[in-house]
Symmetry: C2
């Protein structure tokens, strides 16, 4: 006897800022499990900035969401029934899950969680968030001990991980964020060396003061004006790891900005490289071991910003683009 489930459908491509009218919730009966399938009760959903790109038609790094399909993203849940011999009822699993109360999915597509870790860590420190920070900072940004690392969107999930990993390996870490509550958090909870509130402080003046020797690695989650400011301080042979451009995701037409990036990359012989974490999949195993080690030693922390209730998942996503989340934005399904 399969339960009924609520599901949130993607029903309208947003123009500009994403609104709740892009989504509609419906209830349906779940299908019967086939061989290898599991029935998962979804406990937490992750909402992430990259989802905005998938709502547009056109080329991005993940294919566009189809209109009329159920929204999907990272999630963790408990197994209610299993027809996969490697998975037991009661196991916690992580994987791509629909925005829904329950789902029937192939057991081969999920990973069973090590229950010595809190299950939500699989959605941040010990999941895509942590891996994105790890590979972006160390492989793309080529950060090394002694480097000055500047992070935009620093109080976001990835940003706060990047800063902590950079501290672990011996970098000087400066975080840019949009409120005093966030900059306080970066200093007090995540141990950043310096912070800038770009809404109340002069970004360039602050960078000049906090980074008198220039910037070696810029981990960019934001783009736009903030990036314009930071790139002026790049050192020779600096690296920009382009992880996100959240300031631009809801633009209808491309914003205009000064043409300073290319000439600066040239004169500083600097490198800007975009990446997505999936490109590093063959190396996930080793990276997760390292992240888990750091986490267990208390060197990696993560605040969770939890919205309650499946029906509030669209609102949780919108919070990201308004900069309202502090730490990893999750939705809890009670």
């Amino acid at each position: 006897m399969e339960p009924a489930t609520r599901e949130i459908f993607f029903v309208k491509r947003p123009v500009g800022m994403v609104q709740e009218d892009s989504f509609r919730m419906e209830t349906r009966k779940l299908p019967t499990l086939g061989a290898g399938d599991i029935l998962v009760r979804i406990r937490y959903l992750s909402v992430d900035p990259y989802m905005r790109g998938r709502m547009n038609l056109g080329r991005s790094y993940a294919p566009p969401f189809d209109l009329g399909s159920v929204m999907v993203g990272g999630g963790v849940g408990t197994v209610e029934q299993s027809r996969d011999p490697n998975i037991n009822a009661g196991d916690w699993v992580v994987g791509q899950m629909p925005w829904a109360d329950y789902c029937v999915t192939s057991g081969a597509g999920v990973r069973v969680l090590d229950e010595s870790m809190p299950p939500t860590t699989a959605l941040h420190v010990l999941g895509m968030t942590g891996l994105t920070a790890y590979f972006g900072l160390l492989h793309v940004g080529q950060a090394k001990s002694g480097d000055v690392v500047v992070i935009s969107g620093a109080a976001g999930a990835v940003g706060s991980q990047v800063g902590q990993i950079a501290k672990i390996i011996g970098c000087k870490v400066i975080g840019i964020a949009g409120s005093d509550a966030k900059t306080q958090l970066l200093q007090d909870t995540y141990g950043f060396d310096g912070t800038i509130n770009y809404k109340t402080q002069d970004l360039r003046e602050q960078l000049a003061e906090i980074c008198p020797t220039g910037v070696d690695v810029y981990f960019d989650n934001v783009g736009g004006n903030i990036t314009d400011g930071v790139v002026n301080y790049l050192n020779d042979f600096a690296r920009i790891a382009i992880c996100g451009q959240i300031s631009l995701y809801n633009s209808v037409e491309p914003e205009l900005g000064p043409r300073t990036l290319m000439p600066l990359l040239l004169t500083r012989r600097a490198t800007a490289r975009g990446f997505i974490v999936g490109d590093f999949a063959p190396q996930f195993g080793d990276a997760l071991k390292q992240l888990q080690q750091w986490y267990q030693k208390g060197q990696l922390r993560m605040l969770e910003d939890v919205v309650e209730g499946l029906q509030n998942t669209p609102q949780a996503l919108i919070r990201l683009f308004r900069g309202e989340n502090v730490g990893k934005q999750l939705v809890r399904l009670p």
Copy 2:
């Protein structure tokens, strides 16, 4: 008895487009040779786009020219007198030389030319131009057989070398230039597979037609609108080698342009990297051997665009920014 020499001084920092009033010619007696010095009669001077950056105050990859100093750049000449035991009167030498008829310089600072090659090749195919093309395409751009390579400023000295080297290693090569005479030259003389006249053709339409499978390497000499057009066609994991940004060098204020580069680098997981040839100096020897081999086999050609007379050197430089040169811009001192 040292001869008198004319010398061209840098006397005014240009604002916007460089003009002849930034330069003044004077005549003086040359100093006496010290131990290790040579007296060179300068035969050819190279003028290059990077010189515009050195005319500004502020940070570039080479220090700014001092006001009131003699202009310097690449040159070849013949040795008239030598107090360097390794250099003989009559030798051809290449090195940094003043914009002047003669100079007294340290023999250690020049390289004696192999006289089996025409001496001007040391200023292009077998000199900085060729090396810039070689390292920019192969090391920065990571071009490999089968790649689609697009070059802006393709009829310039570096651009035409890049295209020929890309053909040698088995790439499909598309050149962007600003006149039909130039695009004709790219096809007929340099063997490009396709060309676009950005002044008379729709760049994006042409790229879509000529590069239906996208662009793997973009070798950028120009920047600005042309780069905006090309980056839309980058393939996943494409590389941009930023060699120059000549369209922007004479700007007084940073031009505005659409903020498309960073989001595209992100979604295509592409890399943009600035470079200057000097960073590869330890590898010049091997590269020059390879370039000479290709040159001797007739695989690397270079048109020379020669202006006559030292007094016309400023005008020769200005020609570059007007896009008037076809091939390597030289000044011959009769």
